[in-house]
Amino acid sequence: MNESSAHGERLGIVVGGSLTGGMEVKLDSATPIEEMAVGRYVVIEGQTSRFFGMITDIELGAIDQQLTITPPDIADSFIADVVTGTSTYGKLQVTPMLTISGDATSLLEGPKPVKTVPRHFSPVREASEQDVELVFGREDERHFYVGTPLDMETKVCLNIPEFVTRSNGVFGKSGTGKTFLTRLRLIGMVQKGAAANLIFDMHNEYGWEGTSEHVPNVKGLKQLFPSQVALFTLDEESARRRKVSTDYVVQIGYDEIEPEDIALLRETLNLTEPAIEAVYQLAREFGQARWLEGFFDLSTREETKELLEKLHVHESSYRNLRRGLERLKRLSFLTPRARDNSVQRILEYLDRGMHVVLEFGRYTDITVYVLVANILTRRIYDQYRERMERAMGEKVDKPHPLVITIEEAHKFLNPEVADQTIFGIIAREMRKYNVTLLVIDQRPSGIYDEIMSQLGTKATYLLDNEKDIDSVLMGVSGKSELKTVLSKLEAKQQALIFGHALPMPVVVKTREYGSTESYRELGFREAAELKRKAEEEIKDLF
């Protein structure tokens, strides 16, 4: 074992602290304080075990108060060199997260949660690449490389099969890298074959290609894995304009829209409570599958008036409802009768182990997004539930795990609607029916607490609203320390990831995506190259 890679640079020694409050580390005078950074990893060499921790704060200390009143003459570089690390010194706050014991059995078992603290004056080192690898695993058939820790080259890997057993979240301000990270995670899931994916792609970024601020465009899933990804669209015209060939055009029939779907749109369609109430009345009158058509069919004044009286619906509620529903009527993918069963088509692909991206085309309006995602998910979920229940009773296979990706998650999961929507149910029951969510949001405080706390692995980029930060870190141990770390993230491509699929919280610079090099690393080969390879193989044959 090479000495320099096995041990990081020595930084200082433990001078105090507690298990709950973190360790105080006095920096050696040779350690330049300005090169320290919160979020970075250190290893504390205790007497019997090694503690793996994260720097959560950096402080300046002086041994004598007088020194701060009459500062030494540090314009003199000699005096400056002498006083740093002696009369004045740097201090780190280190939160120990895991212990790695020295003996062979514990090495095999891997890192364990900390239950004690290192003794006084234990030396503290920078974590070496090997330490990080020991904690986060190596890229292999289960571990997918998502990024590198601060100032290190080591790969931080996500345990994908573990990851998909829970619903997960990606948060952060707009433009920080949520879409890029989500795309990487999806690629990880496709590569490791751990789950089928259904992606509600609001901005047409995941399927064929996505935009980037730097490179012209980045490849979507379909380009990387053409045989494993099916591209569905709500808007054939937009796809054609973008020269994207799609596998299926989704239509939704009036009969597929249930009162609950409209209730979910109360806010975006500007509907009043009585108007929603009226929808349920209509459904009772016309039947679940017929109510919307029945409503649109009301033609004469008399007919309408008669119905309203019968259902005890107020004239103003009716007008409110009418305005709202007319907006839906204008959507071209909504038709009285869909020519095909979209849900069935999606399930067919998923059953073949493929992944489905549903592009929204020009329908980037949140109303459409919520409506369509909710309708399709509800029915797909019903199917999964049925199959799971059957699998439990009879000896048939359980359905392949399914991960559903949604953006603007707070629209589905806010406290008012979370109880009713299918997404709220999925998020809460964990993996009972082999379906989990991957939620993306820039306003996590809008998501119901109870659902936030059910998310297994969370990745958060920079957030600047206090409420959002609190919501993301809710229930996490070492919250206040992580808060400091979170607030110091860079504006882009740097995320704090923590939870279920990782042994400890980690700040990563997310893996670069969009360069030819990055596609190659993900196993992608250009057509020209494939052709050349094929030709060579043919040549070899003869």
Partner: protein, 194 residues
Amino acid sequence: MAARIGEVIEASTGSFVAECYDLHSPPPLGSLVRTSDSEVDIFGVVCHASTESIDPGRRPVARGRDEHDEENIYRQHPQLSRLLRTTFETLAVGHRQGDNIYRYLPPRPPRVHGFVYLCEPDDVRRFTASLDFLTILLGAKEVTADEVISACLRLASCAYDDSRAFLVGAGKELAILLSSDLNRLNSVLRRIRQ
């Protein structure tokens, strides 16, 4: 060979006094010298030097009123160099037994008439590889203790290629030892800064 500069004429536990073989040529203040008590080498740091009449009852008198040149006085009165002598005092700061150097007081003071040598750069580096002896100098009762410390460090630094690094290291040691007396620390640092 290290230069032999004198002989011990008075010895006690923490210090010894030596007479120089050459009048008016004591080792510089703060320099590291060495003598022995037959078994151990004893290191001392020069903390004081003086030139006086050999006979305490007879103080020298001024003789140069009519001379143009100081040197002429000694030429005219050759007996003077035998009536005067230069002595220096050192603080014992450590000792060496075999290959081991200890930076604390030797078990016994040196013998009177023990030869005193000025340490060579090699010895200086070996002895100052650890600065534990600074506590002895800091604790000395001499009013000039700070002068002795700074002179000692300045001279020792000349034995190193990177004398600044040595002085910074020494400064850090002092900053810890003098953490409760910043004024004193500052005054020493000002004397050794480079």
